[in-house]
Symmetry: D2
Subunit: 303 residues, 4 copies
């Protein structure tokens, strides 16, 4: 199995970066990723100290790649099956002043910096609290940032958009398939930002951030494109849309889902709409990145 | 057990309506409710026909009540335990032109009217599709509209707000406890708008709308108030906030949840914030009423 | 000329309050109003002191009235011409912690309270600054809150909506005509919340708040209704819409404006749309009340 | 005076494009720009025809440049004085299906395509209507898109952001100075998208689009940066912020304005906040691009 090292990382998903590996459709690749804080925050160097000493990284959320997938052409769909996510032995959670879902960048003072280092072993995250208690949380790993190259833009890896990117969706996990639009030859797949666990909304803006060795299997659907990323799990199909308006992201995700049900599953469009109102689920993936991400889900049992 | 008839219904949650019954804390009451379309839409009178003939009700979403709960005073909390929701034998779903989550009231033409009548038996909803197929959906009943009287306003029963109202939250179901603020003597509880089932977001604006016989048990917590409705289930605590900005509703719900965790469960506030980012769940209850409703949830196992 | 005293004020615009006066169409009325802070904030009792001593009013933004306009029936339009606004000799501006446009009610600390008392004489507001300078601002008076009774709701006077209410629109000033929908017999006109001057957006949430003696001339257009308030000035026609989404308020105001141009001024709808893109103006009246208010304006010279 | 040809245009503002000219601080440059529709829409080839024939450009909103300004370094501010905007003899306005402020990309049908060609002479735009009337609108030219290169991203020229871009602000006009952040050596100034006139909000998404010969004079303020674009006119200072939330864009613009008043004009921060609430103006530049743009303005006479 080919291996993508995290020695080379990028801070944009871009058509301008040189592929680090070329793979065939159907091939699996092991991708090493470093954590979203670039490995800079540790027990010895908590965020509080890094801020004081002015030693922050210039950019966050490094992604590994890009992976060139042979035969993928603009207008195709890239299929990325998540085979495994092996996470690191520690996870980092911070409050970064001015960043996060319950802060607003107007006239109020920012919340102070805070660092939490969780030890992770045997599938359990040991999240330390201020009063000395440890909260034991089962590992539910996910890949926070994954996407293809936009056609002519270079977009920061901290942003989610039609090409994927920083979606922070818990459903991008082992056993599920992600469908991404292809805009350039070879698709140019990037990924990083593994989370040991993450809640809906990722409310403070940071999960239990960790390095990973992630195995993905890539494939190409030729001649069919998707407007926005989609996921298929054993039980659900879902659309993943992002917008700086949470309302708009939600409505886009349902619109995409209804068009999908209409075009591929022979539901009348109005039927799909009225039925989603009864059986669809939705997940607010995150409300902390430049655009917010929502997944709209339909149970396979009604297809 | 006292019974509240649906012969008297209201279209506002208001301090100005006369109580239909007075009950003691700890008492259970059977409340009859009619469907959100006032029983006007039937197989013989589908929406399409009602629109043509100009026979629509003036207002929608009737609520039964109000129920006066003895000893409840402003500043108290009303506890409403949902003991049972016995729904009717048919459910109505419509697309109402100009209403719903995937329409916008600007220059585009509205979507056309549509009516679906589902037969409901043995816990299964038989939802008919245009191509003759029937989708069988298990009943998961909920009370769409429930709330106390606002202090000096009369608010339409179609709106959700701090007093509750049209929250359309699937967690307001059998076995769960709802906590509501008390603004006036006796609290004045109203409820209606039963749904046989409903998806997240209630995307077309209408669930499988049905009449019900709902049993609630009411109680009062004296001297403690809640800012916004809260729910307790066997496994979760949750806050329910509403705002015309979906982003704001979501952020308010998490803010309320974090303050709850901080005040009642001895979590440091920053700990609560960072921990919610890992283990909280969220539900977009609806994005179709004047204000949108979001529930932020925390698993009891971490309390 | 009949006179409406500010001895009776209300905190809701409501169909349930008893008229204080009945007037004929074409009649002018002098209406006394007290300031939005109920006269509670003075040099001797600044907000800081009132907060400390727990002496705040229960509600803000009192309105005088209601005025019953004879012959006005549901479906009519009430025309309110602002003849004069005679403001008081002092104006109050405050920062109220947790209220205002550059604060967010999540986890950050609120901004502190602050009180500014401006002397007003000879048409000049003397606004005092912390460093001892006085900013001299010409008086440009407006009525912040004015509206009719909603049909079955009682809405807080702090909210703007279809019936008018707390729109805080600088164009509601001397010489302009306001058109309001009539929902109940007599229309039931309320007004208050005079501002000696106010900027776009009313960003801190408070203008130079003052008492007033306001003269309005009322009239009725029978059998024609407006969806939302409208204003006519010597040079412009404008629509005033409010929504908790600023984007939605703006889009609604333009939609109403385009329908107006289409129905009353013989513009093709698409022409009206494309032309507004070239010559329309917009004003963000306020982004601090429960719903935000936007005015979309079209120059009369192109009609 | 050096001349920048429109033979080379770009569809991203990017650090990766090669400068077409290098100029000194204090130098004026004549920049040719083509219209936002790439000159593709003409009387002979209206949009309706281009859509039918599948002959649309791949990208819209071409910008000329980039111009390398000597001595400009990251952390500096680029000053761009608009000396002249000489527009073309015809202007194009279209409704592009699915684009524009009064359409929503959900389930409703899009508005149909429409093309309007205006003749422009002697400072008057002759805007044709469907019923044969011509609306005569005085030319008020502006540069719709102008900005520097982002640091590591390539952003579509259709987007506004911190580096400027597609702000569609009527105040970017003859006689005014624009201040832009510098992220890369030489600043790399791009501009295009001239409008013969444009209303607030640019509601249909398109102005009277025209080619131009624009003269700008560039200068550099070393060692001082701006977070967001700013404009200085003879009478006002203003901040220009963009966000996909109109509310957020507005609040950001006021926050920037208040910080500006505080840091450079010796206003106490709370004074600046309370004073803006009385005398500030705001302009909604556009609500049609990916991010919406708002200008918050403070009159110089109060500085």
């Amino acid at each position: 199995m080919k291996r993508v090292s995290s020695n080379i990382v990028h801070y944009t998903l871009s058509p301008f970066h040189k592929p680090v590996v070329k793979v065939d459709p159907g091939e699996s690749i092991m991708v090493e990723t470093i954590d979203a804080l670039c490995g800079a925050v540790t027990e010895e160097s908590p965020l509080e100290k890094l801020l004081e000493e002015g030693r922050l990284p210039d950019y966050f959320n490094p992604v590994s790649g890009p992976i060139y997938v042979k035969t993928a052409r603009p207008g195709d769909t890239l299929v990325v099956e998540i085979i495994d996510i092996k996470i690191g032995a520690r996870g980092v959670t911070i409050n970064f002043p001015g960043f996060g879902g319950l802060t607003a960048p107007y006239l109020q003072e920012n919340l102070p910096p805070k660092t939490k280092i969780s030890q992770i072993e045997n599938g359990i995250i040991h999240f330390p609290t201020e009063n000395g208690r440890t909260i034991k949380i089962p590992v539910q790993p996910l890949i926070g940032t994954i996407g293809t190259a936009p056609p002519i833009e270079a977009q920061l890896s901290t942003k989610p958009d039609k090409h994927g990117g920083n979606m922070d969706c818990s459903d991008i996990t082992i056993g599920n398939k992600l469908y991404l639009p292809v805009f350039v030859d070879g698709a140019l797949l990037y990924l990083g930002d593994a989370h040991a666990v993450q809640g809906d909304c990722e409310i403070c803006g940071v999960a239990v951030e960790t390095s990973s060795e992630t195995i993905v299997k890539v494939d190409v659907v030729h001649g069919k494109s998707v407007n926005w990323p989609r996921i298929e799990t054993p039980n659900e199909i879902m659309t993943i849309c992002s917008s700086a308006s949470l309302e708009h992201a939600t409505k886009l995700a349902f619109t995409e889902l209804i068009f999908w049900l209409n075009k591929h599953y022979e539901f009348d469009r109005m039927d799909a709409y009225l039925l989603c109102s009864q059986v669809a689920k939705a997940r607010i993936c995150q409300i902390v990145n430049e655009r917010y991400t929502v997944a709209a889900k339909f149970p396979k049992k009604y297809l």
